[in-house]
């Protein structure tokens, strides 16, 4: 058994071909967490204004092991342990960002952004606009979202719709290790606050990742797979599940395109609409609860566009149930779209329409 096979079995997930490295650079195999760590190291070594602060990012190595032993390489000044103070962490990040630094703040679980929401929504996102351009806030906020770890309702949410609803905040959801690295490095080029919603099920998975100081463009969707029968638009861990579902669908003779928006704000609607037009059927997949979810916005964009007249079937959303994430593994799995759910929904869409 090769190391990769061992790893795949250990993680319980195959390495999807559609989530490999973007072209144009040498690559190496690394986990999603290692890819983020690589980006942190590159940016902090290259730019004295970049630093990371958050809870337990130093000696502890990060709650999900993202920083690992980075504090030994970069020191406690640049890999900075904070008190358990999410509002303070983001707020100090805002102040530092306004005054010449490029802070990266880590919120240990994206659920805890609720503690920091004033600084995210009322301060970071609005300062450039409401101050008439007198200040910028080049702040990067990293926060893991998603369910699947048995951590229940306060540690498992998918809150991207909250952030996408705030003008002035860029929101990205890396679905691969390569994008986790490339988006973080791109976010550090951006003079605006960028919220990076990582997924905790991906941290230990291995991906092909570009080496060196690379970028994944913010505001550009990725077509992960192409097929003529339907277009699946999926975010976060659901991109991987959709790619796996697409392979199973292909075995049944159904060919799916999988589009990963990558960036929710600003959304690359053009790429999504172009891929919808090509197949005339669209399945929108998100882990987040359905009501008021981001895919409802994608649905509305499609419905209001010229792509609407190319639809052969109603737009279909496949979302998390409108419940808090439960603890028991069978319940947790039941409330968010799994590979089989995507296969069923896609098959129905193609067979019935």
């Amino acid at each position: 058994m090769t190391m990769q096979e061992q790893r795949s079995i250990h993680e319980g997930l195959e390495h999807p071909t559609g989530l490999g490295a973007r072209p144009g650079a040498e690559t190496a195999e690394m986990t999603y967490a290692e890819a983020i760590r690589d980006a942190l190291r590159i940016a902090i070594e290259a730019d004295p204004s970049v630093f990371l602060m958050g809870e337990d990012v130093g000696r502890y190595g990060g709650a999900f092991g993202v920083t690992g032993t980075l504090v030994d390489e970069l020191g406690t000044d640049r890999i900075r342990d904070t008190t358990i103070s999410e509002l303070g962490i983001v707020g100090l990040g805002v102040g530092a960002a306004m005054t010449g630094m490029k802070p990266i703040v880590e919120i240990q679980f994206s659920d805890f952004t609720a503690q920091a929401m004033d600084q995210i929504a009322n301060q970071a996102a609005k300062i450039h606009f409401m101050l008439g351009g007198e200040a910028n806030v080049p702040l990067v906020i990293r926060a893991p979202g998603g369910s699947g770890t048995g951590a229940a309702a306060q540690h498992s949410q998918s809150l991207e719709a909250w952030f996408a609803h705030i003008p002035g905040l860029k929101v990205v959801m890396p679905a691969s290790g390569d994008d986790a690295k490339g988006l973080l490095l791109a976010a550090l080029d951006d003079p605006n606050p960028v919220m990076i919603l990582e997924h905790k099920l991906l941290y230990k998975q291995t991906f092909e990742v570009r080496t060196g100081d690379v970028r994944t463009p913010i505001g550009k969707a990725a077509v992960r797979r192409t097929g003529g029968d339907l277009t699946i638009v999926a975010t976060g861990v659901e991109v991987q599940r959709s790619l796996e579902a697409a392979e199973l669908l292909a075995a049944q003779g159904i060919q799916a395109t999988v589009v990963d928006p990558v960036t929710l704000t600003p959304l690359d609607s053009a790429t999504i609409l172009a891929e919808v037009v090509k197949t005339g059927r669209v399945l929108l997949v998100q882990e987040a609860v359905q009501t008021g979810g981001f895919m409802s916005e994608v649905s509305a964009i499609i419905a209001e566009s010229e792509a609407f007249v190319h639809l052969r079937a109603p737009i279909r959303r496949l979302s998390g149930l409108d419940v808090p994430i439960p603890y028991a593994p069978q319940l947790e799995k039941a409330v968010v779209p799994q590979v089989d759910d995507i296969v069923v929904a896609a098959t129905a869409l193609v067979k019935e329409w």
Partner: protein, 329 residues
């Protein structure tokens, strides 16, 4: 710095006191005549705090301010015409009409902005202090906030982190006795509000907030401590807001006698003028000259601001994000 006994410092302080007072009166007048939109939070009666504090600062030191922020902006050196233009919804205003009274910032004077959220500026000031510390400058951040902010979690978190890292920050509470209508004496059962500092392991000082020299001296000491790397200080400046919290305030939570007693016996400008006259630093004529200059400056600022082009909705969507300029490394 001796302000009361130094002629040029006394003239500077008096000019700032009157600029704040006259600016606020002009705003109140324009609002009353229907020429100004929205709401406003006037700082009449509290002028000595920003005046004394900012005289202890350098131009490159940072401040964060509050919803009641006109005085802080003016004391840090903001342009009266651009401030007035903002309040009059003009394109030439500090925020181009996008922010209004509660969001004036001034990059030229390192004023990081007023804030519509109580205690919103507390962690931001700490972050500016962190930035100064990491960049190895000796800049200091002064966080102006009200007594109402002491009930907010943001105050706690900002002070905790500033204390842990010994950040060069001065948390300066303008205790005007009420957080909107809530009495701070009732809300915080402490002998003195500055006792709160004990819980954070930083010095806490209470000063007469209507005494320019006292405020200045307390801030000067705190700033020296911050520049020396010894960390933050919490200062409570006791003062009083003559006007209501905002235009909706009917003053039902305090008595007319209370307001009158502060106005008559504890007007920070009258007190300062009396002290410089008694010290022989300025004459009545000097004081009148300062008043006249401020009146003329402000009249000119209002006239020019009123004549400026109105803010327009064009370009609003493009103003949400700062333009990206490519790779930063």
């Amino acid at each position: 710095m001796q302000i009361v006994t130094d002629r040029s410092a006394a003239i500077e302080a008096l000019g700032t006191l009157w600029r704040i007072r006259r600016f606020e009166e002009a705003v109140e007048d324009l609002y009353g005549r229907g020429m100004m939109h929205g709401t406003m939070h006037l700082s009449i009666g509290q002028e000595a705090v920003p005046t004394g504090a900012c005289m202890a600062l350098r131009r490159d030191d940072y401040i964060t301010s509050t919803h009641r922020g006109h005085g802080h902006c003016i004391a840090k050196g903001a342009d009266l015409e651009r401030m007035m233009a903002e309040l009059l919804a003009k394109d030439t205003g500090y925020c181009r009409g996008r922010g209004g009274s509660m969001h004036i910032a001034d990059a030229a004077t390192n004023n990081l902005g007023a804030n519509g959220i109580v205690a919103g500026g507390v962690p931001i000031a700490a972050g500016a202090g962190l930035s100064a510390q990491m960049r190895g400058t000796d800049q200091v951040a002064v966080c102006f906030h009200g007594d109402g902010a002491m009930g907010e979690g943001a105050w706690h978190e900002g002070v905790v982190l500033a204390a842990m890292w010994k950040l060069p920050v001065v948390f300066l509470c303008e205790n005007n006795l009420y957080g909107m209508s809530m009495s701070s004496a009732k809300a915080f059962p402490l002998e003195q509000l500055s006792d709160r500092a004990n819980g954070y392991g930083i010095p806490g000082v209470t000063v007469d907030g209507n005494d320019v020299q006292a405020v200045h001296d307390a801030v000067e000491t705190a700033v020296a401590r911050a520049r020396a790397g010894e960390g933050p200080t919490f200062i409570v400046a006791e003062t009083y807001r003559w006007r209501g919290h905002s235009k909706s305030d009917k003053n039902l939570y305090r008595t007319r006698d209370e307001i009158e007693s502060w106005r008559e016996s504890n007007d920070p400008i009258a007190r300062f003028e009396k002290s410089v006259l008694e010290a022989g630093t300025l004459t009545e004529a000097d004081i009148q000259t300062v008043r006249d200059e401020v009146r003329d400056d402000l009249r000119g600022a209002v006239q020019r601001a009123a004549a400026a082009p109105d803010a327009t909705p064009e370009g609003l969507l493009d103003a949400v994000f700062a333009p990206t300029t490519g790779a930063a490394r």
